[in-house]
């Protein structure tokens, strides 16, 4: 109880993350045990293996089953979870984790260093197909000197390593040799254990009584997978559901005004940006990129696509990240100047045809593309939209990089190295835009080897400035996350993880 309170209060007091909290009168009541929470979950869960799954939606459920060796607090600092404490050697080459005593897995076994070594080895084995595989690229050896200690030796310093382990999945500890069954029946050390999944319909979780941080209040969670947003909301209103995530954007204001419901919104759930393919000759000219930046009225676009449920931003850094460059201001819309820039670059009105690929996985992206295309038309650009299924978008844009313009969002990337190295370094894993900028490459490398936090911050701010000046991408906004619940649900303020995406039900209770 004590530890949980600590975490809960730090989340609630971080003004930067929270922008709105509905009726809070009920939060004052004393928690009670019992009851099954019926959650209207916005997405269909896929592969249940936490090491393999890369989707934020599936992780959202799995995070309640698993705990991680370390995690982050609301100030984005790495804090222990299944480890009681950790040390980093001065040369940055050795990480020592002292494991928490008496941590139980759902299969009844007690966590030892063997399980931790197994989990890390599984994560870095290419055969596993783990999404966080590359986090362990600089790891030389993983050792277990005794039952309660794990040492990771690096081949070279990697400043962001610990933060990366604290991220989604990379630090999740599973019982030794349980890898083969994780996909169907996940087993972890989290507050809830997996009961069953009726595929495409619901996932059932039950309280794990031996949870190291004290048992949860709820007897269980029934996560019903309801992908249609209006249907979720109706279910909440009719009392079929206790709790939903992702209120349809156009209804948030209306739901917030409803005295019968509790609503919580926060930013950011994710950030969104518009992208150019830098291998396409057209977009190698910074004037063209700036022109497209000038075409977009970010605030109006956000109102149009998100019905106001977001905050525009000139940089992708999390709002409460120390390395966020607060001096940047987005370019205001100026169609005339955009026309002039395009003309100067050799594309007078009516001569430029651009294809904008957008995925139906995010319907608000389809809406955004239609609005942008309309502005582009006013600037003399003929923009065609191709809406792609998620599979096609991943294949054409992400892997084959066969596109001219697109837009995308990213969840939970709060760690600056991951953000700027992966997304903007020439060899970065997320650099699907073929960006190759020598200055950014140099800065991102330098930040990786820089152990002094202040100096790293400085470097990252420089990177943000450069991305903005060159309009390498057009940053749009942080999108709000939202949850809503019946008045009978308590502890709503403990639900959202500091990464803005995961939902944690350990501190939630139901009034009888």
């Amino acid at each position: 109880m004590k530890r949980r309170d600590l975490l809960a209060s730090t989340i609630a007091t971080t003004a930067a993350l929270w922008i709105g909290l509905g009726p809070t009168a009920l939060q004052a009541q004393e928690p009670v045990s019992g009851g099954t929470l019926i959650w209207g979950h916005s997405e269909t869960t896929q592969n249940l293996d936490m090491h393999q799954t890369g989707t934020a939606s599936t992780s959202r459920v799995l995070q309640n089953i698993h705990d991680s060796i370390v995690t982050i607090n609301s100030d984005m600092e790495v804090v222990p979870q299944l480890a009681e404490s950790f040390e980093i050697s001065d040369d940055g080459l050795t990480y020592t984790f002292h494991l928490r005593d008496g941590v139980m897995f759902h299969d009844g076994s007690t966590m030892t260093s063997e399980d931790v070594v197994y989990s890390f080895e599984r994560l870095r084995d290419p055969e596993t197909g783990a999404v966080n595989f590359e986090v362990f690229n600089d790891v030389d050896a993983i050792e277990a000197p005794d039952d309660m200690t794990v040492i990771i030796r690096m081949s070279r310093p990697n400043a962001p390593f610990l933060a990366r382990v604290a991220e989604n999945g990379a630090g999740v500890i599973i019982p030794a040799n349980s890898g083969d069954i994780q996909g169907e029946t996940p087993i972890g050390a989290g507050a809830f254990e997996f009961v069953r999944r009726e595929f495409g319909n619901e996932v059932e979780l039950a309280r794990f009584d031996d949870y190291w941080d004290g048992p949860a209040y709820l007897d269980g969670i029934l996560a019903r997978e309801i992908t249609e947003p209006t249907v979720r909301l109706t279910g909440l209103r009719t009392g079929e559901l206790h709790f939903i995530n992702d209120i349809p954007a156009e209804r948030v204001a209306e739901v917030e005004a409803d005295p019968e419901l509790q609503v919580l919104t926060w930013a950011p759930l994710n950030f969104d940006f518009m992208n150019f393919n830098h291998d396409v000759e057209l977009f190698q000219d910074p004037r063209v990129r700036q022109a497209f930046d000038l075409i977009v009225d970010k605030e109006l676009l956000m109102q149009g696509a998100l019905w106001g449920q977001g905050t525009t931003t000139p940089t992708p850094s999390f709002p409460n990240d120390a390395s966020r460059n607060g001096d940047l201001v987005q370019r205001a819309q100026d169609i005339e100047q955009a026309r002039a820039l395009l003309e100067e670059a050799g594309y007078p009105p009516g001569t430029l045809d651009v294809v904008f690929k957008v995925t139906t996985n995010y319907p608000y992206h389809v809406e955004s593309a239609q609005i942008i295309a309309e502005w582009a038309r006013q600037a003399g650009v003929n923009m065609t939209i191709e809406q792609l299924t998620w599979a096609d978008w991943l294949s054409q844009v992400w892997v084959d990089r066969d596109f001219e313009m697109t837009m995308m969002n990213f969840f939970t990337i709060w760690e600056p190295d991951r953000l700027y190295y992966s997304l903007y370094h020439t060899t970065g894993g997320f650099n699907y835009r073929n960006i190759s900028d020598p200055l950014i490459d140099e800065l991102a490398e330098a930040a990786r080897g820089e152990v002094d936090p202040a100096a790293r911050t400085e470097i990252y701010q420089q990177i943000q400035q450069h991305i903005f000046d060159e309009a390498l991408d057009v940053l749009l906004w942080y999108r709000n996350g939202s949850i809503a619940a019946q008045p009978s649900v308590g502890g709503l303020d403990t639900v959202v993880h500091p990464n803005g995406s995961n939902l944690n039900f350990h501190g939630v209770w139901l009034q009888s």
Partner: protein, 271 residues
């Protein structure tokens, strides 16, 4: 019944002419940008003097969109059915005319293809090719082909057994001439009836594909797309679904009525 038939014919013809008229004339009177222009201050507005049929979630004029959508719908339907005729007619005639082993092989293949629901086939083809206007036409056209080939083959089989064809054959007429002179003209009535009914179904298929995101691409005005977008705002703005849905129903009703009448007139066996 004759009175009803003629009423039916009149209504059917009137509806089809109306839709064709809109498809042809709307683009002349309504500039294309009317369908994509957005007024952010007028989202999900009910019908009014400014917006005769109201606006959608992006503040676009539904009147302009539904009018321009007629062209999208009809163009795709006509080209898709045309394609299924180009592919299915020769297949059916060859199969029905030559019979025997050729017929056997072709019909086994077509029977197998007919086991795939048309919409599933079109959906899969569209997923393979990637969604855009041209591929939507191909997907619907190919999916319709087995069905059309089957009908043509049945007709050809019937005609081949007619006395005058046998007479011509014993007189030594060559196959090519025989097909052009005797088979093709006699297949025509059934083909025309089938094509008209297929048109109705193709309009529906285009709407269904667009509804599932695998057809016409936004911001182009397509009725299926409009219905798809309206889903989320049904209780807030039911007209966003009613407007394109009614347009779709009128078109399909007109084509079905016309198909019925043509069948009664042209197809002697159905009378």
């Amino acid at each position: 019944m004759r009175k009803f038939l003629s009423t039916k014919a009149l209504i059917g013809l009137a509806l089809v002419l109306l839709v064709v008229g809109i498809a042809v004339l709307a683009p002349l009177f309504i500039p294309p940008e009317r369908a994509t222009q957005m007024v952010m201050t007028a989202r999900l507005q009910p019908p009014s003097f400014d917006f005769l049929l109201g606006t959608d979630q992006l503040g676009r004029d539904l009147f302009a969109r539904v009018m321009l959508g007629a062209q999208t719908s009809l163009t795709i339907a006509i080209l898709a059915v045309g394609m299924s005729i180009v592919l299915g007619l020769p297949l059916g005639i060859i199969s029905g005319y030559y019979g025997g082993r050729v017929d056997n092989v072709l019909m086994r293949l077509i029977d197998a293809l007919l086991s795939f629901p048309i919409l599933l086939l079109a959906l899969t083809i569209s997923a393979v090719l990637g969604p855009n206007l041209q591929n939507t036409i191909i997907a619907i056209g190919v999916a319709f082909t087995p069905f059309l080939a089957r009908i043509v083959r049945g007709e050809a089989l019937r005609i081949v057994q007619m006395p005058y064809v046998e007479a011509a054959r014993s007189a030594g007429t060559r196959d090519g001439l025989m097909i052009v002179r005797h088979i093709l003209p006699n297949v025509m009535p059934a083909l025309i009836v089938q094509a008209t009914i297929s048109l109705a179904f193709a309009v529906l298929a285009e709407a269904a594909l667009s509804f599932l995101g695998l057809g016409t691409q936004p911001p182009q005005a397509s009725w299926g797309l409009m219905i798809q977008a309206s889903r989320q705002f049904l209780d807030l703005a039911p007209w966003t679904a009613l407007v394109p849905g009614t347009a779709l129903a009128i078109t399909i009703l007109g084509l079905n009525l016309l198909g019925d009448v043509l069948r009664d007139v042209l197809d002697p066996r159905a009378r």
